[in-house]
Each structure stands twice: as structure tokens, then as C-alpha cells.
């Protein structure tokens, strides 16, 4: 069985690290990663506690398939109460860190309490120690990885760190591993910063055991061969989506004032692959996480003559480039069509540890506040914070990374920013978390998915894409969102990536790998049941944290201002017509609370 059946618990207040047995009953009910981590969080903390208080916990959770021979098995999640949302947060990352944590012998790492001084956690199998982090506190993610890499001189050691954004309690700070993969959303890195834990360095030599290695090798090979539609994702990454949403009329532009961006073709895969006037091509190659046979990652570099970096040789090298979400947030959302500027600010996000979606969404909100005169050049230190200005985008990226001037306001996230400047309706967020790259008017199902997502607006908590590109008619959308939320919750708990489901895998393929890893006999019905259990557990956490029906909503703009162009021209999101059916499908009452029957049926 691929479980190590072990938890590593680190109490920062007491400076104590101890190994405990994994609760296998919970692993059977919630699988691993997102489900199991959420179960531990709800059982161990009061959801009403302040996200930045010592009572909050940070759980790094692998899944049963993490680190195995299955393709895309490098996933892990960070589960905590989100600093951005005050809701349950579960942020998923790839790279190689998750598999290494598993190889060290731990299914879960639970970090609790709060350290008096900055520390980092050093793990080499059973050897675990908290170390003084004063030499890296105040440093970037990249500097931290370089320092620890040199100190331990083990090329297979992996790191997950926060940058200065996490230290400064930027509300959407992320945990970055392997230089440019991130548990990006909801402020999970902010909680690390509040606890004064800078990084985790891990090296494992225990591997992942299977009772039938040859059989599992055969199974993983067979399932991998079924991923037959990956060429486009390998070549263009997720960025291919920008042409679809833009033409369809669902690409949020200039803080959702429009659903189509006239500059999208300067940010699309062709733009990334085509040399500019200087002969510089943005993309160098693609990149893959542990065990991945897709390679959706973009490895890019900024034109060295571009204004943003011409005097900064440290940014002339290659690193993680634009994906669809970053191209939206640091491009269309701000009305900026400069691929070099967006790539540079994406580098800043990886380096300083910020979620680019929330950063871009917050800068876009600031640009609209500037446009209506609520923010002035006095506030911005003279920067003309205009939609479309690549210079303003870069300046805001730098000021936010360093928590300087107006950047300290942008670091609060768009909700707090817009409240401060007197226009709360201009925050394009749900539960305080900024929209992803889909507009809920052009994609009505996504509107419902955003509104009901337990971690705030998110494009990865449901999969209404196919239905939304089929029709803007809302009939059937509540069912699609409900079913896919459950399925995604299951996949997020396996240790596998969601993207194989876009490249040829069905849920049966995921199931075969889970059953092969766990020596279990899960069925497709179990997928829905486990997913539903996880979804309701997260909901119960949020209810105890004070959230409810009032938070299952969308900004006024999406509910009242019709889309200006595209297939949904003239439409607003019909959330109010979809929500009652959704609650009914979930087995919740009119207030959005799970009924006693639902709680009992799911064994909650």
C-alpha cells in the first residue's frame, strides 16, 4: 500500500517535532490530500479562529498516489484557514516537493502554533529539525532555495518556501516549491508567514512501496497510454484557452468591464512562440512536474531589452512563464497586452511568493479605482495607474512585492482595497478571493461554480467548461456544477493532477490508479460519495467560520451589468435562478446549510 501511515506534526510554539500514526479510518472516508487534510483541519482547530493566529494550522498533504509511477503523481495540497478569505483554503501544487515529502515517509505534515523567531523545517527521512532561519528571513523564494541548496549540497533535496510577501502578510501570499510551482491561492503562504516558518527542506529515501511493483508498473503504463490527447497541452499549455474565452466572450477584461480583450492575440500561444521585432522569443521550452507526461508548464524569458528588466540582469534568465490564468490576470484583467511585462510580473510572483491571479485582480481593481478618481497619483507615488499601462502593472507588481506605498493596499486583496477606497462593488471576487480567468456572464455555470466554491472564486473547484461552451442557457448547469465539484474533490484527494482529464483520462483511469495504490475497490459511485463528503466537510468548516448563504454570491457587476459582446451579449449571470436548485441537489436547506439527513447520509 502506498500510504506510509505516518504524520509528521511540528509544533512551532514548543519547537517540537513528532511522528504519529495516520488515522486510516479517515483516509478511507476522505482519501488523501485535499479531503484528508480538510478532515484533520476541521477536527483540530476552531474554524472561527483568526487565520493569522497560532490557533490556525497549516497542513501539507499528499495523496495515496503521490510519488508513484502514475503520470502526474507529483501533487500535494496545503490546507489551512485562508488569510485572504477567512474560509477553508486548500491550495494544490505540483513540482517535485510533494513526492519528496512522501519519499521521506510522511503522508501529512501538520504545522501548528507560532514560532517566536523565524525558522525553517529540515527533513531527511526520520531526521527532523527546526532550524534558525534568520539568514533567509527577508530573502526571496529563489534566494532561500539557493541558500538551503548550497547548505545541504544535496541535488535531490526539495524546498517549499515563502517570499517576502508571506513575511509581510500580503493576504494572497503563496507557498512556492521548486522555484516556480506554487500552492498559490487563498493566502496559504500568509499563514506560514504569520507562524514565522520560512521554508521546508525535504529529502526522502524511503520511496513509495507497492505490494506488487511489477503489477503497478504495468497498470501505470497502461493508464498512461490512455492519455492520448496531450499534444496540444504540451505545445501550448493552458494558454490555449485565451483564444477560446476571448472569442466566446468570457475573458474578464479591465476588471470585468468587458468580456473580450482586443489585445488577447498578443498574449496567446502564437505570441509566446513567435519572435518579436528584436528576434526574441518568449518561450524556451515546456516543463513538467514529477512523473508528468504532459508538460504544461512554460519555461520563458523576458526580452532583455524590455523596459522592465533592461537594468536588472538577474531577470535575464529563464523561469516559469505565463499560463492562461497569469496571462489573464497580468494581461487582460489590467488591459495590458505586453507579454514581456506580464512575464516579468509573473517572475516577481514566483520570487516574492504572491498569487498572480489575486495580484492581477487587485491591480485591476486599483486601476478602476484610479479611473474613477477614488485613487489618485498622490496615492500611487506619481504612477499613472491606467488600464493598459504595462509600466503601471510592473510598478504595482514591484511595490506590492515589497509592501511599499499603494502596494501595501494592493497586498490586502481587492476586497479590502475596494472597501478602503469606498467602492466595495468593484472587487471582482467571491469570499474575498479574486476571479479566475472566466466571466460568469459568458459562462453561467462558472458563475455558479465561483459563487459556491468553498475557497472563494475558483476555476478549479468544478468543471462546467464543456457545458458552458455549449450553451448559455442555465438549464442543467446546477447539476453539472454539483457533479463536477464532487468529482474534482475526489481527484484533488488522490495525489494526481486534474489535467489528464483534459488529455484523455476518464474518472475510471483515476480510479484504477487509486485502487492500484491503495489496494482498494473504490467504484464510480464512491467517487461521488467521497467527493460529496469532502465538499460538505468544507462547507461545515465555513459555516462554523461564520460564512453562509450571504457569501454564495457574485459582484454586482456580474449580476446586474450585461456582457458587452460575445455569445452572452446582453446577459447577466442568472445566479439567483441556479442557486436554489444547486442547494436542493446538495441536500442543503434554503440557507445553504447541510440538512441533518445529508450529514447523516455522508457520515459527517
Amino acid at each position: 500500500m502506498s500510504w506510509h501511515k505516518q504524520i509528521l506534526r511540528v509544533n512551532l510554539t514548543e519547537g517540537r517535532c513528532q511522528i504519529e500514526p495516520l488515522n486510516m479510518e479517515w483516509a478511507n472516508d476522505y482519501l488523501g490530500q485535499r479531503g484528508l487534510g480538510s478532515k484533520y483541519l476541521l477536527e483540530e482547530m476552531d474554524p472561527a479562529a483568526d487565520a493569522l493566529s497560532p490557533e490556525n494550522k497549516v497542513i501539507f498533504a499528499t495523496g495515496p498516489v503521490t510519488g508513484t509511477l502514475a503520470s502526474t503523481s507529483g501533487r500535494y495540497s496545503v490546507i489551512t484557514k485562508g488569510a485572504l478569505t477567512d474560509a477553508i483554503a486548500c491550495s494544490n501544487s505540483g513540482g517535485k516537493f510533494g513526492a519528496e515529502l512522501k519519499f521521506a515517509g510522511y503522508d501529512l505534515l501538520i504545522i501548528e502554533g507560532e514560532s517566536e523567531k523565524p525558522v525553517y523545517l529540515h527533513i531527511e527521512d526520520d531526521k527532523v529539525e527546526l532550524c534558525d532561519a534568520s539568514e533567509v528571513w527577508g530573502k526571496t523564494v529563489w534566494e532561500t532555495e539557493d541558500f538551503l541548496g548550497k547548505k545541504y549540497a544535496d541535488p535531490l533535496m526539495r524546498f517549499a518556501s515563502i517570499g517576502q510577501a508571506g513575511e509581510n502578510l500580503c493576504r494572497y501570499a503563496c507557498v512556492v516549491n521548486d522555484r516556480h510551482r506554487a500552492a498559490g491561492r487563498s493566502g496559504v503562504g500568509t499563514v506560514m508567514g504569520a507562524k514565522k516558518i520560512k521554508a521546508i527542506a525535504v529529502r526522502g529515501t524511503k520511496g513509495v512501496k507497492s505490494p506488487d511493483p511489477a503489477g503497478y508498473f504495468k497498470l501505470a503504463s497502461e493508464v498512461n497510454a490512455r492519455m492520448t490527447e496531450r499534444d496540444e497541452m504540451s505545445r501550448d499549455g493552458t494558454l490555449a484557452m485565451i483564444d477560446v474565452t476571448n472569442n466566446f466572450g468570457a475573458l474578464p477584461t479591465r476588471n470585468n468591464r468587458s468580456v473580450r480583450f482586443e489585445g488577447a492575440e498578443k498574449l496567446n500561444p502564437e505570441a509566446m512562440h513567435t519572435p518579436n521585432a528584436n528576434g526574441h522569443t518568449n518561450i524556451i521550452t515546456n516543463g513538467a512536474c514529477f512523473g508528468c507526461t504532459i508538460g504544461c508548464g512554460r519555461i520563458c524569458h523576458v526580452d532583455p531589452t524590455h523596459f522592465s528588466i533592461k537594468d536588472k540582469p538577474q531577470y535575464h534568465g529563464a523561469s516559469g512563464g505565463l499560463e492562461y490564468e497569469t496571462a489573464y490576470a497580468l494581461g487582460a484583467a489590467c488591459g495590458v497586452d505586453d507579454i514581456d511585462a506580464a512575464t516579468y510580473v509573473g517572475f516577481l510572483c514566483n520570487e516574492y511568493g504572491m498569487d498572480p491571479i489575486s495580484l492581477g485582480g487587485s491591480i485591476a481593481a486599483a486601476m478602476e479605482l484610479f479611473d474613477i478618481g477614488a485613487i489618485t497619483e498622490q496615492d500611487t507615488n506619481g504612477v499613472k495607474l491606467e488600464f493598459g499601462s504595462a509600466e503601471a502593472l510592473c510598478a504595482m507588481g514591484e511595490m506590492t512585492a515589497r509592501n511599499e506605498g499603494i502596494g501595501a493596499d494592493i497586498a490586502m486583496g481587492s476586497k479590502r482595497l475596494c472597501e478602503k477606497y469606498g467602492h466595495p462593488d468593484l472587487s471582482m471576487s467571491v469570499k474575498g478571493q479574486e476571479f479566475a480567468a472566466y466571466d460568469g456572464r459568458g459562462m453561467q455555470g462558472m458563475g455558479l461554480a465561483y459563487a459556491t466554491s468553498n475557497r472563494g472564486a475558483c476555476h478549479l473547484r468544478a468543471s462546467p467548461y464543456e457545458h458552458d461552451f455549449e450553451t448559455t442557457d442555465i438549464e442543467g448547469k446546477a447539476q453539472v456544477v454539483y457533479d463536477s465539484q464532487n468529482e474534482v474533490a475526489f481527484i484533488d484527494s488522490t495525489g494526481l493532477c486534474l489535467f489528464p482529464s483534459e488529455c484523455g483520462w476518464s474518472i475510471k483511469d483515476y480510479l484504477e490508479l487509486v485502487n492500484g495504490s491503495c489496494e482498494s475497490d473504490w467504484s464510480e459511485d464512491d467517487v461521488q460519495t467521497v467527493g460529496e463528503r469532502i465538499w460538505n466537510l468544507e462547507r461545515l468548516f465555513n459555516i462554523k467560520a461564520g460564512l453562509g448563504k450571504k457569501d454564495d454570491t457574485l459582484p454586482k457587476r456580474i449580476l446586474e451589468e450585461p456582457a458587452d459582446v460575445g455569445t452572452a451579449k446582453g446577459l447577466v449571470c442568472k445566479l439567483g435562478d441556479m442557486l436554489p436548485e444547486y442547494y436542493q441537489l446538495r441536500g442543503w436547506n434554503e440557507e445553504g446549510e447541510p440538512t441533518s439527513d445529508t450529514i447523516s447520509r455522508l457520515g459527517l
Binding site: E232, A240, M241, V244, E270, L460, Y465, T567
Partner: protein, 83 residues
């Protein structure tokens, strides 16, 4: 008449030789149907895609009943599931 069509994503590989990187211009008789336009592109039968005509999504059943004109904007999009 000349009708221009834009193709995105992996559909670009079905553009006729000599096309711009994501668009082509087809010479068709006046009164041609949308199906005539699509038949000039070597897209395999089993390949699914979305057709937008002047910002309106058209179901497959409507292709044979839709007359196109030179001023129409025709866009073909691949069905991508998330990102």
C-alpha cells in the same frame, strides 16, 4: 465571394497551405452554406469544435441551413476543458 475564417488552438493545423497563422480566405459561390465553408477545411469528421458566426454559437444541426456572406466573421474554436 471571399469568406474569411479564423481557427484557433490545435485546429490551426487544418488551415490550407499558405494561410496566415490563424486565418484563411476561401473563395466560394454566393449563397454558400456554412457547411460549404467547413467542407473546405480538412478537419476530421470525429473532431469536435465550436463554430461562432458573428459572435453567435451555432449548433451543428444549423450549419446546413445557414447562408454565409462575405462580411461574416466565422471563428472555429477547439473544445478545451479548463486551465
Amino acid at each position: 465571394m471571399q469568406v474569411s475564417v479564423k481557427l484557433f488552438g490545435g485546429l490551426r493545423e487544418y488551415l490550407p497551405a499558405g494561410s496566415a497563422f490563424n486565418a484563411c480566405v476561401l473563395n466560394l459561390p454566393e449563397g454558400s452554406m456554412l457547411t460549404d465553408v467547413l467542407s473546405h477545411l480538412p478537419i476530421p469528421e470525429n473532431k469536435t469544435y465550436i463554430v461562432l458566426l458573428n459572435d453567435v454559437k451555432l449548433d451543428r444541426e444549423a450549419h446546413a441551413d445557414t447562408i454565409v456572406s462575405a462580411s461574416d466573421e466565422i471563428v472555429l474554436l477547439p473544445p478545451i476543458k479548463g486551465g
